[in-house]
Subunit: 194 residues, 2 copies
């Protein structure tokens, strides 16, 4: 007859407390990683939302116009920048919604299910954030430098403020990318540590 | 006196076999995931190398020329496509070098250190592959559609073969991205399962 029959499967924390003598502070590494994960997510929310906001408000109208055209540049002049705005808003919303799960991993350091869920979703949104940031970076490069071979002219001479705003948005987006990559790696480390 | 004192720490497989009665086939999930991981990596190598090869050989010279210009398009006309070629070659090389570590996780399903290393490096190269694929996709879109607001003309009417080749390379690169994202997720699942 074993005494462990009565212990329900879900009481991992209690079990951990039971072996405190053997290994000091069980789940201490996990808890530390979970707290860092939470803080990183707050930074990621700030980066993603500010990237979306900067891109959304990037709008410049030149102070001269012809009979037919008024020269204006805004994010919806470029499909890539629209994709950037939408995907950064989605990433920001996801990061906000992921906060409760991050809190669960702080309160219950052995809740590996929530941690695995976060790892999978973080990987998906890391790919989304990276693709929109990189595609916009390519367009921003073209706007700054143009392309000789195809006669695509640089527009940043005329639309300096617009170019500055979109460049800042891309930088903020890459900050969100770095943070998401860190959370993926930290989830992996936390899943490994006992 | 316990008989288990003589068992060295490294013999995880033997230990696993010892408790077969309690849990059927310990590490079976991990081994299956490791084998799938290896197969996915082979597919990723094919995708990354073919993406680099298609982009590297994309070259089209138009059959007419003026006194000053010969109209030619190749990957080195666009800095983004050069970045694409270099980063896809790097990703392909990384995937080849990661095969031995994948074999280690097949032979020793409980070698979580190798698995964690693969997860971290996979995340890094996932970001690299995604950024180059997305940036090139943005340029390919411009080459196909041009941009009204900036008077960037579509070049695919003239350079049809070149556009087809670069589009195919981008598709192959996104296949490599999907495979890398899958290996990251599978490493996470394998780290969680006991």
């Amino acid at each position: 007859m074993s005494t462990s029959v009565d212990v329900p499967e879900s009481s991992n924390v209690e079990k951990g407390r039971g072996v405190t003598v053997a290994a000091a502070r069980p789940g201490g590494t996990k808890k530390g990683l979970a707290i860092m994960d939470f803080i990183l997510r707050l930074g990621g929310i700030a980066a993603a939302i500010s990237a979306a906001a900067i891109m959304g408000t990037a709008d410049q109208t030149l102070p001269f116009f012809t009979q037919f055209f008024q020269f204006e540049a805004s994010y919806d002049s470029f499909p890539t920048f629209e994709f950037f705005l939408i995907s950064m808003a989605i990433v920001g919303a996801y990061l906000v919604l992921s906060l409760p799960f991050s809190v669960v991993t702080i309160i219950r350091p052995h809740a590996d299910g929530a941690r695995l869920l976060l790892l999978i979703l973080d990987t998906v949104f890391l790919t989304l954030a990276t693709s929109s940031a990189a595609a916009s970076a390519g367009i921003v490069y073209l706007a700054h430098n143009g392309d000789q071979n195809t006669n695509w002219i640089a527009i940043c001479n005329q639309f300096g403020d617009f170019c500055l705003a979109t460049s800042s948005a891309v930088v903020a987006a890459f900050a969100a990318v770095v943070i998401l990559a860190l959370t993926v790696v930290m989830s992996g480390v936390a899943l490994r540590s006992r």
